[in-house]
């Protein structure tokens, strides 16, 4: 890791911390990290944070997202009983919700796109 990446990571961690602190002070039911994301997005748009200063750290984090997530999915082993007891409900729910989510988004986007280009 070079100095640029360290600085980028520090910036990103500061935004995460800001989000977490705000959430714990106000008690709003919103993920602090997502608030940190919003704050960073705004700061980038306003030019308070330069894209180049966080680019390489952010790319590193985003490219390895799947790796960071692995230990959490391994945690499913603790819930094996719940998963096997409700496998049918879970499968049906996953199939239907994915299909409905795709269909609603796609149909809405296609219709609104036509309205917009008319």
């Amino acid at each position: 890791m070079g100095a640029v990446q360290v600085r980028g990571l520090a910036t990103i961690l500061l935004f995460e911390l800001a989000g977490e602190v705000f959430v714990s002070l106000t008690g709003i039911p919103f993920p602090g990290r997502v608030l940190g994301l919003l704050l960073l997005w705004i700061s980038l748009c306003k030019g308070w944070v330069a894209e180049e200063s966080i680019e390489s750290a952010a790319d590193f984090l985003l490219q390895n997202l799947t790796l960071f997530f692995t230990p959490i999915v391994v945690g499913a082993m603790v819930y094996r009983e719940v998963l096997t007891a409700h496998w049918f409900a879970i499968s049906l729910s996953l199939f239907l919700s994915t299909a409905v989510g795709l269909l609603v988004t796609g149909k809405a986007a296609q219709r609104l796109d036509k309205v917009g280009s008319r």
Binding site: F15, L40, L67, G75, A89, L94, T98, G101, L102, G106
Partner: protein
């Protein structure tokens, strides 16, 4: 025998063990995925199943493994914040089509959330499972955070997120075409909203526009779900 067992437990509870095991298995899973590219060989699925199998065989508790696992999942926090960068890069696109993008992504994210929770609820699942189901359509780091906040189980949500992504990536574009949705932007937005990063991986293969809109939808759907999920959780708590 007893000596060996104690030694194993001691090694397994060290931070190095969980971290090293995760990294090694993940690298192998990635290599396997490159050799046989398919949503079913997604590295997250293969690596977590392999680690579970390993831990089961050697009788190692999840909590022992997670001493080191935590070191790796810690990075999910900053990685979530880093999602600001791809969104920033598409800010202009969002502004230009604000109504279309925001309306379709919000509608799709809300619909997926409600259907997911209602189906498990109707089929007799307890509140913990219902709450874990609510945020499962969005990108992994955001979904897991939401799950923790509304009272779900992070690991269960994690599994549902991965399976949702795999479903969307395997059948999404074909399903959309069968339903008469062919517009590249619409397909991209749908894949990103309903099946997050794994769906976006497939969208990128469909084309550049599809991929860009999918990535955009993935980020926005995460934000919108973070706002809507606590409300949905309150409603489901009442019934």
């Amino acid at each position: 025998m007893m000596v060996e067992f104690t030694a194993l437990t001691e090694i397994a509870s060290s931070k190095t063990f969980g971290a090293a095991l995760t990294l090694a298995v993940f690298l192998l899973a990635e290599r396997f995925h490159r050799r046989r590219p398919s949503p079913l060989t997604h590295p997250l699925l293969i690596s977590s199943l392999s680690i579970i199998l390993f831990l089961e065989i050697f009788g190692i508790d999840y909590s022992a493994y997670n001493e080191g696992g935590q070191l790796i999942s810690f990075f999910l926090g900053p990685a979530t914040v880093a999602l600001a960068l791809p969104l920033y890069r598409r800010t202009r696109e969002i502004r230009r089509r604000a109504v279309m993008v925001l309306t379709s992504v919000s509608a799709g994210a809300a619909a997926a959330m409600v259907v997911a929770a209602v189906v498990v609820k109707l089929l007799g699942a307890g509140p913990r499972l219902v709450l874990s189901m609510i945020p499962k359509s969005v990108t992994t780091p955001i979904a897991v955070e939401i799950s923790g906040i509304i009272g779900g189980e992070k690991a269960l949500t994690g599994v549902f997120v991965v399976l949702t992504g795999i479903l969307g990536a395997m059948f999404g574009p074909e399903f959309l075409r069968a339903c008469g949705i062919r517009d590249e932007r619409a397909v991209g937005l749908a894949l990103g909203t309903a099946s997050h990063g794994i769906g976006t991986g497939r969208a990128i293969k469909e084309g550049e526009t599809t991929g860009a809109f999918s990535g955009l939808a993935m980020g926005l759907a995460g934000l919108i779900t973070a706002i809507l999920a606590p409300l949905a959780a309150m409603v489901f708590d009442r019934f």
